[in-house]
């Protein structure tokens, strides 16, 4: 019997595979975001590819710099549209529709047991619904677009057993940061994660997406939550490389700077200048609701700006219908178009020298969101909102216990 990864990749290869095997696989989907469309077209042209054999398996998402900020970005969008039309690729998700991974799950583009590639490292997010999702570079994406196939190695699997229940004010993001602290940024390199244990059933799809999303920050190739579907199923005698047990009830709100992950109290309440709520990690309606619960009846601290970037148009619509947007805007937040937003540092919401941002995203390298002389603190949506109110990195439980 086999791990979820072995089951899914065996199907994609058409033969039984075990961890460590190299195999040629046929993915069900191969996507590309706008930040790689120009390079993809360049590669296909240079390789002399004139026909794409399976346009129905392909798709493109305008999410990283949408709306475009530069002429180069706008031209990449425009040339991409013409290219896709010429090649009969109908799945183009336009400016304002949202982030690829969010759209893939909420619109049901990917299914349990499928293999999906995307030229984006956070494709691991798709494991939330039992789809093996993983990132590819532009060259290999071009190869898949041209041939429908590619070689890969079947990963070994780390079984992550989640027990207990999260305390109020503690979020899926805090589970991710706790795991990052435990195994480090390369602790799962080349491996798949399987999330199991008694706590998993109680986790929402949104929470599962956050967990699988940040698996790549541990180096993972893929992350999978066993789906409710008939297949693939967790096998009692699957072989795991390692097991990690995490008691969720013992977790507390966390934050991360490059090379440093710790409970919020350990950071000494540094002043913040920008709060950013959004991204494929934490830009879902559940995340916006958590922030709104903190911000209701409150105002952002003087000198703090807070950007809210819904992960998709559907998230934005839900937030509008539910009154969540009104709460966020009345508190002083700036609403931006759905997409990757400030996280990728490509088209808005940049940080200046000496500034500090608390972000619900997953990456904090110096310079990622603008100035190299700015700090990015990663934290949960509730922590982002609480910090925006206090003007300092703040444990959200402090604001939950004392209603405004």
């Amino acid at each position: 019997m086999t791990t979820l990864s072995e089951q899914i990749l065996s199907r994609a290869a058409g033969r039984p595979l075990r961890a460590g095997d190299m195999a040629e696989v046929t993915p069900d989907h191969c996507f590309v975001p706008d930040d790689t469309i120009a390079l993809l077209m360049h590669h296909l042209e240079r390789a002399g590819v004139t026909r794409l054999p399976h346009p129905e398996r392909l798709g493109v998402f305008y999410d990283h710099f949408a709306p475009a900020e530069t002429v180069e970005h706008a031209t990449a969008h425009a040339e991409g549209r013409r290219f896709l039309k010429r090649h009969g690729v109908s799945r183009l998700f336009e400016v304002g529709e949202g982030i690829s991974h969010q759209i893939c799950v909420e619109q049901g583009l990917v299914r349990p047991g499928e293999l999906a590639f995307n030229a984006d490292s956070h494709t691991t997010t798709l494991g939330a619904i039992g789809c093996f999702g993983t990132g590819l570079g532009a060259t290999e994406t071009a190869y898949v677009w041209a041939t429908g196939r590619i070689w890969l190695r079947v990963p070994t699997t780390i079984r992550v057993v989640l027990e207990g229940a999260l305390a109020p004010g503690v979020a899926a993001k805090d589970i991710c940061l706790a795991l990052l602290r435990l195994v480090g940024p390369a602790g799962a390199t080349y491996r798949a994660l399987e999330f199991q244990g008694g706590a998993v059933a109680a986790l929402s799809v949104a929470q599962r997406m956050t967990l699988c999303n940040m698996a790549v920050e541990l180096g993972a190739k893929a992350a999978l939550v066993p789906p409710d579907s008939a297949w693939p199923r967790v096998s009692p005698d699957a072989v795991y490389e390692r097991e990690i047990v995490l008691d969720l009830s013992a977790l507390e709100p966390m934050a991360a700077l490059p090379g440093r992950v710790a409970p919020i109290a350990d950071f000494g309440a540094p002043e913040i200048h920008q709060a950013f709520l959004g991204t494929c990690t934490n830009g879902r309606i559940e995340d916006l609701r958590e922030a709104a619960a903190i911000l209701a009846g409150r105002r952002l601290a003087p000198g703090v700006r807070m950007l809210v970037t819904p992960a998709s148009r559907a998230v934005q619509s839900a937030a509008l219908r539910e009154g969540v947007l009104a709460t966020l805007l009345e508190a002083g937040c700036v609403l931006t178009p759905p997409g990757c937003g400030a996280c990728a540092g490509l088209h808005m919401g940049l940080l200046g020298d000496g500034e500090r941002c608390v972000s619900s995203g997953s990456r904090n390298a110096p310079g990622r969101m603008g100035s190299r002389a700015a700090d990015i603190l990663l934290a949960s949506p509730a922590t982002v909102a609480a910090s925006a109110v206090a003007g300092r990195l703040t444990d959200p439980r402090l604001l939950m216990e004392s209603p405004a």
């Binding site: 390079l39 030229a119 990132g135 290999e140 940024p185 390199t189 990456r363 390298a365 990622r368």
Partner: protein, 157 residues
């Protein structure tokens, strides 16, 4: 297949954002990408890379983003070999698929920039600082991709 050159030495956890900031994505020519190679570490780093055909790094080189410019900018700058204690999955794949030899060497000693480094990909060794270290040779499938000039060369064949 043997490669040698002068090393530029980086530390641990040098991720894709540091190797090639996202704002320079969209430049398709490696020779033009080279002007921004390593610029996430600071504006002086693209010039520091000049003249070094070997990039040496510690643990977890190239983590994070899937962007292959993190690799092709190095190629454009004249890098012909990357040696690290460990690679992220995507960086390693991007190296192989773009024809840049990448060797993992868990026991790599601390080296100074400017040290001559030689490696044999098929025989599986690295020579640096007067010592020869055995490393896992690249599997024939991957060596074949590198020797053929990268994955896309197969489409042109």
């Amino acid at each position: 297949m043997r490669v040698s050159g002068s090393a530029l030495v980086l530390g641990d956890d040098i991720n894709a954002d540091l190797l090639y900031p996202a704002r320079y994505m969209g430049i398709t020519q490696p020779e033009r990408q080279a002007a921004h190679a390593l610029s996430g570490l600071g504006p002086e780093w693209p010039a520091r890379l000049a003249g070094h055909a070997v990039l040496v790094a510690g643990e977890n080189l190239g983590g994070g983003s899937a962007r292959e410019e993190a690799v092709t900018a190095l190629l454009g700058a004249g890098v012909r070999l990357v040696v690290a204690r460990g690679f992220s999955r995507l960086f390693f794949r991007n190296c192989i698929n773009n024809g840049l030899p990448a060797l993992a060497c868990a026991g790599l000693p601390a080296l100074d920039s400017g040290t001559p480094v030689t490696a044999d990909l098929a025989e599986g060794w690295i020579e640096a600082g007067g010592a020869r270290l055995a490393v896992p040779a690249l599997p024939p499938e991957l060596l074949g991709i590198i020797q053929g000039g990268g994955l896309l060369a197969r489409l042109r064949a």
